[in-house]
């Protein structure tokens, strides 16, 4: 499938507009208020990035179309966002997708509890992971984070430092903010390995731990294109 730049932008906007309601339902893990709010403006801000992406490559971008899902999820928007370099939207899409495909949404919840992770189909995780991997040239994705996690010997603090989820204010080290202006780096070149996609620890570190323990990462099968 080929898309022009203008279409891509509309697509991204559509994808993110469904998220705006977040403002009045403030309790989100997978979807921090601030980032969501920002995503309206961030989309606009992301334009230079998209421009850069498009100027450095062709105006037309290859979007994979074979994006299998075990639960009828449409990953074209994600592919599109990643292809156009709209990492903010792609990141948000990924977290929202998890709420959907883990069955949390069906249960009337708007966040993923760690016990939901086992319900996430491997097929879907693999699909998203291939996209992240492809468009970040192997820099982003859960599998990359899993590698970092293992290097951190399971220490969440060390892990966060490694993938750039912490920052320092003077001498004080803290986690990057999920509210207000985002402090995360939506830039493939500048961000450290494994920086994206974000998984918040606002409801505990057990969610990301479970995600990284998902059986899909037990072998390399997820890498195979369908």
């Amino acid at each position: 499938m080929k898309l022009s730049r203008a279409n891509l932008l509309t697509c991204a906007l559509l994808a993110s507009s469904s998220l705006v309601s977040a403002f009045t339902t403030p309790s989100l893990v997978a979807r921090p208020t601030g980032v969501v709010c920002r995503s309206m403006t961030a989309t606009a801000e992301a334009t230079p990035a998209a421009e850069e992406a498009s100027s450095s490559e062709d105006a037309d971008i290859q979007i994979p179309t074979n994006l299998p899902s075990a639960c009828g999820m449409d990953y074209v928007p994600l592919a599109t966002m990643l292809a156009t370099g709209d990492l903010v939207a792609a990141d948000q899409f990924t977290r929202d997708a998890l709420i959907e495909i883990s069955g949390a949404k069906a249960k009337g919840r708007n966040f993923v509890y760690f016990t939901d992770v086992k319900n996430i189909p491997s097929i879907d995780l693999a699909t998203m992971e291939r996209l992240w991997n492809k468009f970040s040239k192997g820099k982003f994705g859960y599998s990359v984070q899993k590698k970092k996690w293992n290097q951190s010997k399971g220490d969440f603090e060390v892990f966060c430092r490694k993938i750039g989820w912490t920052t320092t204010d003077g001498e004080v080290e803290r986690k990057k903010r999920w509210f207000g202006a985002s402090e995360f780096i939506y830039d493939v070149k500048k961000a450290p390995e494994g920086h994206l996609p974000l998984t918040s620890a606002l409801r505990g570190t057990s969610l990301i731990k479970s995600l990284l323990k998902h059986p899909v990462w037990d072998n390399e099968d997820w890498k195979k294109e369908p």
Binding site: Y113, G180, A181, E183, G204, T205, K209
Partner: protein, 1400 residues
């Protein structure tokens, strides 16, 4: 020395820079980067969330730098609607996001009104800029809302601003708050103006409610809420409508969700705000939705299908059958953690911090029952939900995440009820703390850690319930006010809770217990040191108990000596080997692998292994394992002999060996719990925040996930509190050895005999004077001439003197002797689990009987006895102190009668072993019954009659004797072994106050989890009364010695324990000197001071320099605030300088230092945050100091951090201010609060004594007078420091009763004697107030006496070597002049001991 000084000054400068930097950014910068204009323009954007990064930089020390503008909501488009302006002030931030959402909903959806809204967090009002803005906002507001305004000074600020505007405001809604704020309430005709003043249905009801249960003000409000509909019926209809509106508002507020708050604002707006009312003329009112309310109490779970469960059967039906199987939790074996939540967070859906902990626990395979309560009494839901249908507890550990006391929250608590509920449940009870007043970054960068108000409300109060482990688990997100979990803290909390649960679940035979003993000062002779504790004998007792309860103690020996030898190697090695028994050698690779923070220690100690606890290759863990029990020796601080580190220990860290020890316990030995053995070690004093540890604080890193039980002396609640807060230890109190009367010996004994014969023969013109002459010469031999004015021995002949003068002379000597004789001293060392003998119990009870306890309507025994002969005991004391022979005699006779009476009481219950097993009441036995019939007296009455007071009134003694009997039961009912086992078995250990058992017998029985007191309760009224008396005596004495002039300034030292024991007496003394009076608020909390007018004071205001111990600072920072405000008040009072020395000095300082008068009037000093003591004690114990200058420099540098009420979040280095304040000091002053911790028992007293420091600073170089108040007895005294040192030396170091008592415990005993000797020398170094004869006599007792010398050497050669060194040092430093012969003997002895220790 020059090098040292230069380096010190350089470092000092560095220290100053770092200390100043944060302050300059933190004050007044809260609005930096966000000007009004920029804010307004930003707020017009669709996104109101402003960029938080612009305002939050490092805010070290500033507690609350957020600003309300972040919470301001302005309608984007009013669409011509009238706009209602709302200002709200809340204690906690969870309302913020709900309010914001509610306002936005109205602005987006309402046709009739728009809302402009701004919110303040109560604590922000301390900031001047914020306060000004608040004023401005209130002046423009239509509606004011306040909730939980329970901080007195801030409540006053709110009233100050809102009161004058009350008439203009359309409505004022105040939800539970201090009464004066409640009185602001106004909804139409509904007011609470008369609350607590006159009759009104509502206020009466609330008043009554409060008195009835005392447990909670808010409970009362809730009850009122439920009852009000009935009350409303009786009110006129318009009034009823207004009252109903208020009650509805309250319900909406409690509901807390955006929907509820929207209804609240709509309702109030359309009914009370004129423009809205007008615009709605003819329109139909919007009917506000009924408040959506969750049940008052319920079980909550983040992923449950229904919001809450109202009974636990329903909960577990879902949880066990659906959730747990899905989550992979095995319901049969999983531990269960009970969690207590605050309803408002669930209402406002501000719950991610709760979800976080629940998910961490569940992902570790444990079950969770999370409950909440609508009010602040959580005991109901605990009782209802934590038990199964059969009444068995379901939970294994309880974590209270509200941070509040279990019953009563921040308002008024019922600790007794809380402890009873928790004991019935019998599970470890942790109380974790969410940051309320600070954002996460503010806490993280603050050296103090948790905000003092929170410490008072959410750490001190829960401790009184028996809570342990005040771990910070959540922060406030700066921009939105939402609570966010701190991932590493929540993980730690989950780990620790499960480890406590594990102690209950794991079979005893498999549990591994690490017993940690201390070595302080670090020297082999000091291994197993602990205050008043026979450590190895106590370990023996603990091992036996462990064995009895099924723990595996392997082949542990069953004698004290063998246990000791196993740890210290074999008996010969005790002398010949420098090594302790090595339990484990940890390779550096293994160390770095297992110790996540090891790299951080390299800055101070280089790469591991370093040279402490190291064999050059590996890190060495000393100790010995028996079965599943490991007895390990805690390494030392490591910088004891290092002057630079002594000066700046704060920047230090534990050394690698120290870290390796705790790594070993947790990860290699894999202890299930560690038992810290005795008062006290170094863990809890490691660098880090004061309270509210972060993951970079060393106590936190070291103890990591290990549950810790800490055996702690019952008389030291302040340091025990540090151990509880900083090293997450549950304490088990132990009894200090019973205090006995010092008694008399040698010449002093002779003197007493001479005096008794004089009493019989004083009329005899021949023998009387002869005896007086003997008394005089013996008094000289005993060096009593230093204490009593004696006539010249050469020229005086009593035969030529008048009988009155002879009496006067004998009376003065007698009075002095009695002081020595009746002084209390703890005899020997305590062994855990061994109650005192009958004899020891008598000594303690006699002292308990000596005090009047008016609050319990108990009269002291001496008072009752004196009354029987028509005398007032105070009168007798006065005569006694003035050396009136008759009164001295009478006093002695009363003392004897008291002892006899108590003895008679105790003997009733004493068995043939001289121990009290069971207390037999003298009131209900048969003999008592028949006694009444036959008119026979009770044994104690008879004893008093026999002692010469036949008129004693038996009925007058009844109350007291009943009380003494109760005390006796408490004394013998120790639960020390029981308490240790309760902790190791995962039970709840009952809380108990710590302190002096004589003043406060509630300290007994021991074996309970010790706590300090509610800091806002001191000083009490009684303490203020006593201290006024002490201050009067002090000033009298000073005036008398100073040519009738008042001193201008007095230097004070304040101790944590001292103020706990006396309920703030010394604190009150400071206030009294300055001439300010503490004022209690309507809840009985002291958080205000007022100036006593000069006319009433009748003397000048005396300036003070207050030096607070680090522990005092940790426990009582709000009281430092109180003092500072009082002092500043005095300085700012426009009074003549000759009547106000505070002002006089502050004006001079302000001029000299170029600061404001207010800033110059800083008089409350302490260490920098997170650091303790002047380290002068460490230097002296170690001998590693060059000159007194060094010690003085250390004192000035380490103690020169000023507290300033205007910047309450920090301790600011103010060396110059400290010096200029000290240089006007005429007198240094300390309090001695209990006999068992006297001035030569511990190094603390001289460590903080500024006598020579002041001398050096004074322009005239005159040494200030050094005084000590002694309030250990009913007959309180103010003595000079020199007198006190003499008294202490005579009753301890030189007293056979003391040193033989110590020696009977062997090894530890020698060390105890040496400790007194060294501390005595400490006084020479810091104050120069030790008489030569003290060293001379000590030398005669311990060194000249060959037999004694040998005993000391054999029992503990290392300690004896230290003793010899101390004598030589005292001589070398010029504190002791003695004969060549003595010095030679010491030198030879030194060589001999050295050889023996080295095994030559």
């Amino acid at each position: 020395m020059v090098h040292f000084r230069t380096a010190a000054i350089a470092l000092l400068a560095m220290g100053a820079t770092t200390a100043w930097q944060p302050s300059s950014t933190s004050t007044g910068t809260s609005f930096a980067g966000l000007s009004k204009a920029s804010f307004r323009s930003k707020s017009a954007l669709p996104m109101v969330v402003t960029d938080p990064t612009t305002t939050s930089g490092p805010m070290a020390g500033a507690f609350t730098a957020n600003n309300a503008d972040k919470r301001r909501v302005i309608p984007e488009d009013p669409r011509g609607r009238p706009t209602m302006k709302v200002v709200y002030v809340v204690l906690e931030s969870q309302y913020q996001s709900s309010m914001t959402a509610a306002v936005k909903r109205i602005n987006a959806g309402s046709d009739n009104m728009a809302v402009e809204c701004v919110g303040y967090l109560l604590e922000e009002l301390r900031n001047n800029d914020a306060f000004e803005q608040f004023k401005k906002d209130v002046n423009e507001a239509d509606i004011f809302i306040g909730s939980l305004i329970f901080v007195q000074e801030l409540a006053e600020k709110v009233v100050e601003v809102v009161q004058p505007r009350r008439d203009q405001l359309d409505a004022v809604l105040i939800f539970p708050s201090m009464p004066e704020v409640m009185r602001l309430n106004k909804v139409g005709s509904f007011t609470m103006k008369n609350l607590g003043q006159s009759k009104s249905v509502i206020s009466d009801f609330m008043k009554k409610k409060k008195q009835e249960d005392g447990s909670s003000f808010e409970e009362g409000m809730l009850k009122l809420l439920r009852t009000l509909p009935k009350v409303l019926k009786f009110l006129p209809s318009d009034k009823a409508a207004d009252a109903r509106t208020f009650m509805m508002s309250f319900q909406y507020w409690l509901g807390g969700s955006p929907e509820n708050l929207e209804s609240l604002l709509t309702m109030v707006g359309q009914d009370y705000v004129a423009p809205i009312k007008a615009s709605m003329e003819g329109k139909e009112k919007v009917v506000a939705a009924e408040p959506v309310l969750l049940p008052d109490k319920a079980i909550w779970h983040p992923v449950a299908p229904s919001i809450v469960f109202e009974n636990n059967q329903k909960y577990f039906e879902w949880y066990n059958n659906e959730f747990c199987p899905d989550a992979g939790i095995d319901t049969k074996t999983a531990p269960t953690i009970g969690i207590i939540l605050q309803k408002s967070h669930i209402n406002t859906k501000d719950d991610t911090h709760y979800v976080s902990l629940i998910s961490e626990l569940e992902s570790r395979g444990s079950r969770v029952v999370a409950i909440y309560s609508g009010g602040l009494d959580f005991s109901g839901p605990v009782e209802e939900y934590f038990y199964d249908a059969s009444g068995k507890p379901i939970v294994d550990t309880v974590i209270n995440l509200t941070g509040f006391a279990l019953v009563g929250g921040p308002a008024s608590q019922d600790h007794k009820k809380a402890a009873a509920v928790l004991k019935r449940l019998n599970r470890p009870y942790m109380c974790a703390v969410p940051l309320v007043f600070q954002s996460f970054e503010e806490w993280q960068s603050s050296e103090l850690g948790l905000h003092p108000i929170q410490v008072a409300l959410q750490v001190s109060l829960p401790e009184i319930d028996g809570a342990i482990e005040p771990i910070i688990f959540a922060g406030r997100e700066g921009a939105t006010g939402r609570s966010v979990p701190l991932a590493d803290r929540v993980n730690l909390l989950a780990d620790r809770a499960l480890k406590w649960a594990n102690l209950r679940i794991k079979p005893a035979a498999e549990k591994k217990i690490a017993v940690t003993i201390f070595s302080f000062p670090p020297d082999k002779g000091n291994v197993g040191t602990a205050a008043y504790l026979d450590v190895f004998d106590s370990i023996k007792a603990v091992l036996a108990e462990l064995k009895k309860q099924g723990y595996d103690i392997g082949d542990a020996p069953d004698t004290k000596e063998q246990i000791m030898e196993a740890v210290l190697n074999d008996p010969e090695a005790r002398i010949s080997s420098p090594e302790l028994n090595v339990a484990y050698r940890m390779s550096t690779d293994e160390y770095y692998e297992l110790t996540p923070y090891a790299k951080d220690l390299e800055e101070n100690w280089g790469p591991a292994p370093g040279n402490l606890n190291s064999d050059g290759q590996n890190l060495v863990v000393y100790g010995k394992q028996f079965g599943n029990v490991f007895i390990g020796v805690q390494p030392s601080f490591g910088y004891e002999g290092d002057p630079m580190r002594l000066l700046f220990a704060k920047s230090a860290s534990p050394h690698h060996g120290f870290a390796a020890y705790y790594t070993y316990l947790e990860k290699i030995f894999k202890a299930d719990a560690v038992l810290h053995f005795g008062t006290h070690g170094s863990l809890e004093f490691m660098p880090g925040k004061q309270v509210g540890m972060s993951g970079t604080c060393y106590p936190d890193r070291l103890i990591s996930s290990l549950p810790s039980a800490y055996l702690y002396a019952a008389n030291n609640p302040s340091e025990a509190t540090i151990a509880k807060r900083r090293s997450y230890s549950a304490t088990v109190s132990y009894l200090t050895p019973p205090a006995e009367n010092a008694g008399l010996y040698k010449g002093l004994k002779e003197l007493k005999e001479l005096i008794s014969s004089y009493q019989g023969l004083r009329e005899n013109e021949g023998r009387g004077p002869a005896i007086v002459n003997s008394i005089l010469s013996t008094a000289y031999t005993c060096n009593l001439d230093k204490d009593v004015e004696l006539p010249n021995l050469e020229t005086y002949d009593s035969a030529k003197d008048t009988p009155e003068n002879r009496d006067k002379l004998v009376g003065a000597v007698y009075s002095q002797i009695m002081q020595i004789e009746s002084r209390l001293l703890p005899c020997g060392l305590h062994t855990v689990g061994v109650p005192p003998t009958a004899e020891e119990a008598i000594a303690t009870l006699v002292n308990i009987a000596q005090l009047d306890r008016p609050e319990d309507k108990i009269e002291s025994l001496p008072r009752a006895i004196a009354a029987s002969i028509g005398r007032d005991i105070n009168d007798i004391y006065r005569g006694n102190n003035n050396g009136v022979l008759d009164d001295v005699e009478l006093n002695a006779k009363i003392v004897d009668a008291s002892r006899a009476a108590v003895r008679a009481l105790v003997m009733q219950s004493t068995d043939s072993n001289g121990r009290v097993k069971e207390v037999k009441s003298v009131f209900d036995d048969l003999s008592g019954f028949f006694g009444k019939l036959t008119g026979a007296k009770k044994p104690y009455t008879q004893a008093i009659i026999n002692a010469g007071f036949p008129q004693i009134d038996e009925s007058r003694l009844e109350n007291l004797m009943g009380y003494l009997e109760f005390c006796l039961k408490q004394i013998v009912a120790n639960n020390e072994l029981g308490g240790i086992m309760e902790l190791l078995n995962g039970d709840f250990l009952m809380p108990a106050p710590g302190g002096d058992p004589i003043r406060n017998p509630d300290v007994l029985p021991t074996g309970r989890n010790m706590h300090a007191l509610d800091p806002s309760s001191i000083p009490t009224k009684a303490a203020v009364d006593v201290s006024e008396d002490v201050v009067r005596k002090l000033l009298e004495r000073l005036k008398q010695d100073n040519g009738g002039n008042y001193p201008e300034s007095i230097a004070f030292t304040l101790w944590g324990t001292d103020n706990i024991k006396t309920y703030g007496e010394s604190l009150a003394q400071v206030l009294a000197l300055v001439g300010v009076r503490p004022v209690a608020d309507s809840l009985g909390r002291v958080n205000k001071v007022e100036l006593i007018p000069l006319e009433e004071l009748g003397r000048p205001r005396i300036d003070v320099v207050v030096s607070c111990s680090g522990v005092f600072r940790d426990l009582f920072i709000n009281q430092m605030n109180l003092m500072d405000r009082g002092i500043k008040m005095a300085a700012e009072a426009d009074e003549p300088l000759e009547m106000n020395f505070v002002r006089k000095h502050a004006l001079d300082q302000a001029k000299e230092l170029g600061v404001s008068l207010r800033d110059a009037a800083c008089r409350v000093f302490s260490n920098s945050a997170g650091s303790y003591s002047a380290n002068v004690g460490l230097a002296i114990e170690n001998g590693g100091w060059e000159s007194e200058n060094q010690l003085q420099e250390q004192f000035l540098t380490r103690k020169g951090f000023a507290f300033n009420a205007d910047k309450p979040g920090m301790m600011e280095q103010q060396a110059e201010l400290f010096k200029t304040a000290l240089k006007t000091v005429d007198c240094t002053f300390q309090n001695l609060d209990s006999s068992e911790i006297s001035i030569t028992d511990v190094s603390h007293y001289y460590d903080s004594d500024p006598t020579k420091v002041v001398q050096g600073l004074r322009d005239d170089k005159k040494k200030p007078m050094a005084l000590m108040a002694d309030t250990t007895t009913a007959n309180a005294q103010v003595r000079t420091l020199a007198e006190t040192v003499r008294l202490d030396a005579r009753t301890k170091l030189l007293n056979p009763k003391f040193y033989e008592g110590m020696l009977s415990t062997g090894y530890e005993g020698v060390r105890e004697i040496q400790k007194r000797l060294r501390n005595t020398m400490g006084w020479s170094a810091t104050a120069g107030e030790v008489d030569n004869f003290v060293f001379e006599d000590a030398n005669a007792v311990f060194i000249e006496d060959r037999e004694m010398q040998q005993r000391l050497l054999d029992t503990n050669p290392n300690a004896f070597r230290d003793m010899v060194t101390t004598f030589l040092e005292a001589n070398g430093r010029g504190y002791w002049e003695t004969s060549e012969e003595n010095i030679e003997r010491l030198q030879e002895l030194y060589a001999e001991v050295e050889d023996r220790i080295e095994g030559v």
